[in-house]
Amino acid sequence: VKWVGVISLVLWGGLAPAAQGKKVEVAVSQARRALEAWDVRQAAEALAPYSAEPARRAEVAAALARVAFYQGDYARAEALYDEALRQEPGRVRWQATRALVRSTREVTAGYQQVSSSDRRVIVRYEPGKDAVLVPLVLDAVGAAIREIGGDLGFVPDTPVLVEIYSSPETLAKVSPLTEREIETSGTIALCKYNRLMLTSPRALLRGYPWLDSLAHEFVHYAVTRVSQNTVPIWLHEGLAKWQERRWRGTTERRLQPSAEHLLAQGLRQGRLITFEEMHPSMAKLPSQDAAALAFAEVFTVVDYLHQRVGLSGIRRILALLREGKSDAEAISAVSRMSFAAFKGSWMRYLRRLKPRLHPGIVAERVVFKKKGNRKPDDLREIEMKRARELTHLGELLRQRGHLRAAVVEYQKALRLAKNRYPVIQTKLARALLGLRRPREAVQALEATLPLYPGFPATYTYLGEAYQALGETDRAIGAFEEANRLNPFDPRVYEALWELHRRKQDPVGAERAARNLRVLRGESGDDPWAPQTTLGR
């Protein structure tokens, strides 16, 4: 046995280098390819023989580092890059990635981690108020896996990792985006490095449709995995935009009025964003309006594609892309027309759609909280001077208890401004609720919804009005919608707790109570029994 052992050692030592080197190269190359397609499991399997090897080559350590990074294990990833760079300190790309990994590790140090009961979703978040997001994230991503995954033929083989960051600055630290790019394009969520990255709605002045954004990123995740990362940006974003509300169980897909307005404007002025301009990322477009227009365009492309080839056709296109076809080839093959003809046909479809202009509509922009920033109900966004003055007078009166007079002033403002500024209606509704006139409050608020479906205060007051009218289900629906935009308003949870109790729904009541405790800082950092706290 001893002899054999010696022979064996000799064999390894004498014959292995060339064969061993080739084997390593193959493994590294396999892992790289798998990682490009975000197939982390395959990459890990390819590198498995070397994961415990003490004297491995720099390339192996770097590849393992990347796998760890994609698995969300930032401390291990950093250590592995250190190991690789010790051997080859001049490797600039590794250095850059290590910096990103380190920054991500630092940012997420102390984050809590929670898994869904079926282990398909993992959420990481900063302890504190962001804990209220967790159950909603788990529900939404679960639903997205079911609905969107079902539509695209995707079943995740590893848990979907979601990280929630407290501010755009944090997002900039863990992504290739700069703060400036985040602000100008309004990009607050990303799907990159095999995970969904989300800025907490807490960082925004009025919140944002953060669950739809999360689902949007999940579409990217699914598309990347299904196509093995071969889909061009325009189609990627088109599918994501088209499918972002699908997690709600609805198949109705509509453009937001502000997006419709931008599209109509772009068409009239002949200024649409080209597919090429969308590359490499929508986040790199020069403004929030440009990004919104681009999204509106690609939404209609996918909508048109869907009308022509159905979901199965879309799945087929993704498969062709995975097989190495170009977007033009894949679309030609499935739609049975040349790509140029397809584009022309889409343009005609677009014109037939006749997107409407909504003059005076104020685009629902992403506004980050900043020092000296406006308040969420700042009246300065009301550009019509007299309407702004009257609303302000209404506020002064309301604050002094003259509710009836306040209502008169808000109504005067509304007559001038029409439905252009939802802030007036929410203030009117608030005063009407104070006067116990909930029916009128509902009327005022519902009038704003077609143009401004993303104004959280509308849903909060709508919920209060329905609650006052005794319409429990509608009230719950409105409050839940408010939470999908800004889940940090304790009044909403107070009302939900009351409503669920009224409905004799102890689970719903408990969830509301728990969120309330989180927001009041009464629950500590551990409301959802997290499994892990990431190492500091």
Binding site: L396, R400, H402, R404, A405, A406
Partner: protein, 794 residues
């Protein structure tokens, strides 16, 4: 202590001279007090000595006879050591709290007493509030010579010398010491009183807060009026009853707001830092508020028609009323914000000044190393810190109000606090260069803050009042142009009058008239009498009046001699005004009058009365002699006057348009104040009168009216210019005094706070003034006389 019984009763520390006669020849004599033996001087049988009273007890003489034998020379006699009470001092005047200007002085009257004797009087004070409780300080005010047992008098405290600053409240008291050298000097203190150093800025801020309260009241009133407007939409008797009730509620509220607003306007008018703009705007709000209240009251008082008619009537004017109210609420809010920014500017300016003072102190300290200066430096740093704190608070408040216009943030003020902290530390370590470096850094920060505030203030003004500013500028241009046109009109009217007058004079050939010669003589007499009066008078003012009277009488006589009766009349009338004024001045026999009483003054008065009476006669005679120019106008002159009348009408129409524009614009031109409005009314009115006089071919009267119209326009112009003047800070009305030296406009005169008994004389004095002011004054002197009285009471 004189005593024959031998018993001594005296305050501790008293030295008692002892004189005694021994009945036997003695070689030595002592006084025994307890265990102490005090030797006495023996002069034959007379014994002399002194004993200090330390405590109660007894004393006894001990005599040694010539044989050297000691024996008790007297029974024990009682010493009663009385307790020395601490001295007492009381502040007689001023009252418990007094406000003084930063360069002012306060006379503090005191009464002190002690059973032993008073030694000195001290001031004990502490500046209240501030960043850290300041230490109590003392200052010797007076050494009471001769150790009086009772002392009454007054000491003067100089706010400047004591280093007290505007805005500071000082707790002070007087302290006296007695001169008890035995058990040590005792002290007594008065009750604590307070002295507040007047701070124009604080006063301004208080006024701003009061304006805010008015604004708040206006918002409530708006609420009531909107509801009243709603009630007007109802139907039937019950709706009417509700509306009437609501009108009453609104009426009461309106009355309260108006009262408050009146008070604010009165205070703003007196406040040096408040701007003309603010006053004008507030006056406008008051005027409109009054008009709206009157309209609502009129409706409430009415009873004609049924419920429907009355509600209809109400509904017909309520929307306009509410709209006006809305605008005024918004205007007051903007005005408040603007003034707040201006106040911030002043505060920053004060910081810079404080900084300069600190720098001077630091440099002097570097040279002299005077420890007292170091203490002063510490104090100045504390002051600056306190001001910075205030700045931070104000900035935070403003951020809340309107961050759009605040281009700076409280962080800067916080940074300055840190700089100041580092400076204090450097000073503590004796690193004076380091301290100076920090100070320099702070100067830069302050300067940029000041610029930021200035920019914000301008930006806010532009955004809030741009339109009204432009409108007002347009009106100002028009008023300016009209004033010029009116003056030109008066000049041309006078030209016509002059031509006619000269012609009449020539036609009369008065030089040859007997009547004219008599008048001329009388005029020469007046000249002599007035000159004589002048030589007897002592007040320069009165001398000038007599001199002018004499000169003009002489010139009148001369003109008459040359045949120019019109010129003579003119001169005589002017001279008469002077002499009448002089007569008036001398007729009052009051102690405060300008001439001392006595025979000389009486003679002067006599001459003045004679001269004035004589000149009155001369004027009447001249008037009779001279036919009125208007009666002798040529056709061409009448025509020209007609043309001028038409020109006047056009100008009057323009003034009318302007008047309407100003009235209608209301809150759109918030700075068109009441005074400007009244002057515009007056100009319009005088133009109408001038036009009528021109129509009647009375050029002299017309020219006078035209002058008055032009003067009124001039006043409108002045007011508008003041309101439009870019403000470098609050105090648009009194910048000059502030530029060089902040608060320099405050009186530095000694402020005597009169005691209770001292009130009588000034009261009589004021009554005299009031009576005197009621007496008639010739129109051209009204202003002069008014100023004179103002000077007297100032």
């Amino acid at each position: 202590v004189e005593s024959t019984s031998g018993e001594i009763s005296a305050v501790k520390g008293t030295v008692v001279q002892i004189g005694a006669r021994a009945t036997i020849p003695v070689s030595k004599a002592d006084v025994r007090v307890g265990d102490e033996v005090i030797p006495l001087k023996v002069l034959g049988q007379s014994l002399e000595g002194a004993l200090s009273i330390v405590d109660s007890g007894t004393y006894q003489f001990v005599l040694t006879d010539e044989d050297g034998k000691a024996r008790v020379g007297s029974p024990p006699m009682r010493i009663q050591a009385e307790t020395d009470h601490p001295p007492r001092v009381r502040i007689v005047a001023p009252g418990p709290e007094v406000v003084v200007g930063e360069r002012g002085r306060v006379e503090v009257s005191f009464a002190a007493a002690d059973d032993f004797g008073l030694r000195d009087l001290w001031l004990v004070f502490r500046v209240e509030g501030g960043s850290e409780a300041q230490k109590e300080k003392t200052r010797l005010l007076k050494v009471l010579e001769g150790s009086p047992r009772v002392s009454e008098g007054a000491v003067t405290l100089s706010v400047f010398d004591l280093g007290w600053r505007p805005g500071e409240r000082v707790a002070y008291r007087l302290r006296v010491h007695d001169n008890d050298v035995v058990s040590g000097p005792k002290r007594g203190e008065s009750a604590v009183q307070h002295l507040k150093v007047y701070s124009p800025r604080e006063r301004y801020l208080e006024l701003l807060e009061e304006q805010k309260r008015v604004w708040d009241g206006m918002v409530h009133l708006l609420g009531e009026e909107i509801v009243l407007g709603e009630e007007a939409e109802g139907q039937g008797a019950r709706a009417l009853a509700r509306a009437e009730e609501q009108a009453r509620v609104a009426g009461t509220r309106s009355g309260e707001v108006r009262t408050r607003l009146e008070a604010v306007i009165a205070q703003v008018s007196e406040d040096r830092m408040s701007s003309e703009r603010a006053r004008s705007a507030l006056e406008g709000v008051r005027r409109r508020l009054r008009a709206r209240a009157a309209r609502a009251a009129q409706w409430l008082a009415g009873s004609v028609g049924g419920a429907a008619t009355r509600l209809q009537d109400l509904a017909s004017f309520m929307p306009r009323l509410v709209a006006g109210m809305e605008d005024d609420v918004l205007l007051l809010e903007k005005l408040y914000k603007q003034q707040k920014l201006e106040a911030l500017k002043v505060l920053t300016g004060e910081l810079l000044e404080s900084h300069r003072r600190l720098k001077d102190l630091l440099e002097t300290y570097r040279r002299t190393r005077d420890p007292e200066l170091k203490a002063e430096l510490e104090r100045e740093i504390s002051r600056l810190q306190e001001k910075l704190r205030e700045l931070r608070a104000k900035l935070a408040e403003l951020f809340d109000v309107d961050d759009e216009f605040v281009n700076l943030d409280a962080a800067k003020a916080a940074e300055m606090q840190k700089t100041l902290g580092r400076m204090r530390e450097a000073l503590r370590k004796g690193d004076l260069d380091g301290a100076l470096r920090e100070l320099e850094r702070m100067a830069k920060e302050l300067q940029s803050t000041l610029e930021g505030v200035d920019l914000s203030s301008k930006a806010f003004y532009e955004s809030a009042f741009f339109k009204s500013q432009k409108k007002m500028e347009k009106i100002l241009d028009e008023v300016h142009e009209m004033e010029g046109a009116e003056r030109e009109l008066a000049r041309e009217t006078r030209e016509v009058e002059g031509q006619a007058r000269r012609r009449v004079g020539q036609e009369l050939d008065v030089a040859k008239s007997e009547r004219a010669r008599r008048i001329q003589k009388r005029l020469e007499g007046v000249q002599r009498e007035a000159s004589e009066a002048k030589s007897l008078l002592q007040s320069r003012w009165n001398q000038e009046l007599a001199d002018r009277g004499a000169t003009r009488a002489g010139e009148a006589a001369q003109a008459l001699g040359q045949g120019d009766a019109a010129e003579a009349l003119d001169m005589a009338q002017r001279g008469l005004q002077d002499l009448q004024q002089l007569r008036e001045n001398l007729s009052r026999q009051r102690p405060w009058q300008m001439e001392p009483s006595g025979e000389r003054s009486e003679r002067a008065g006599e001459r003045a009365r004679e001269a004035a009476g004589s000149l009155e006669e001369a004027v009447r005679a001249l008037d009779r002699l001279l036919p009125r120019a208007s009666e002798r106008l040529t056709e061409a002159e009448r025509q020209r006057l007609g043309d001028l009348g038409r020109h006047q009408r056009r100008l009057r129409d323009r003034a009318g348009r302007l008047k309407r524009q100003a009235a209608e614009a209301g809150e759109e031109m918030p700075f068109f104040g009441d005074e400007a409005r009244q002057s515009l009314d007056e100009a319009h009115d005088q133009m109408g009168r001038a036009e009528a006089e021109l129509g009647r071919s009375k050029p002299r009267e017309a020219a006078s009216r035209e002058d008055q119209a032009a003067d009124a326009l001039g006043r409108v112009k002045d007011k508008l210019q003041q309101a439009l003047k870019p403000q470098g800070g609050p105090g648009g009305r009194d910048r000059g005094a502030e530029e060089g030296e902040r608060g320099g406009s405050l009186s530095r005169e000694k402020v005597k706070i009169p005691g209770a008994e001292e009130y009588r004389a000034p009261k009589e004095f004021r009554e005299d003034l009031l009576k005197a002011m009621k007496q008639a004054v010739p129109p051209p002197y009204r202003d002069l006389v008014r100023r004179y009285y103002e000077e007297l009471v100032r």
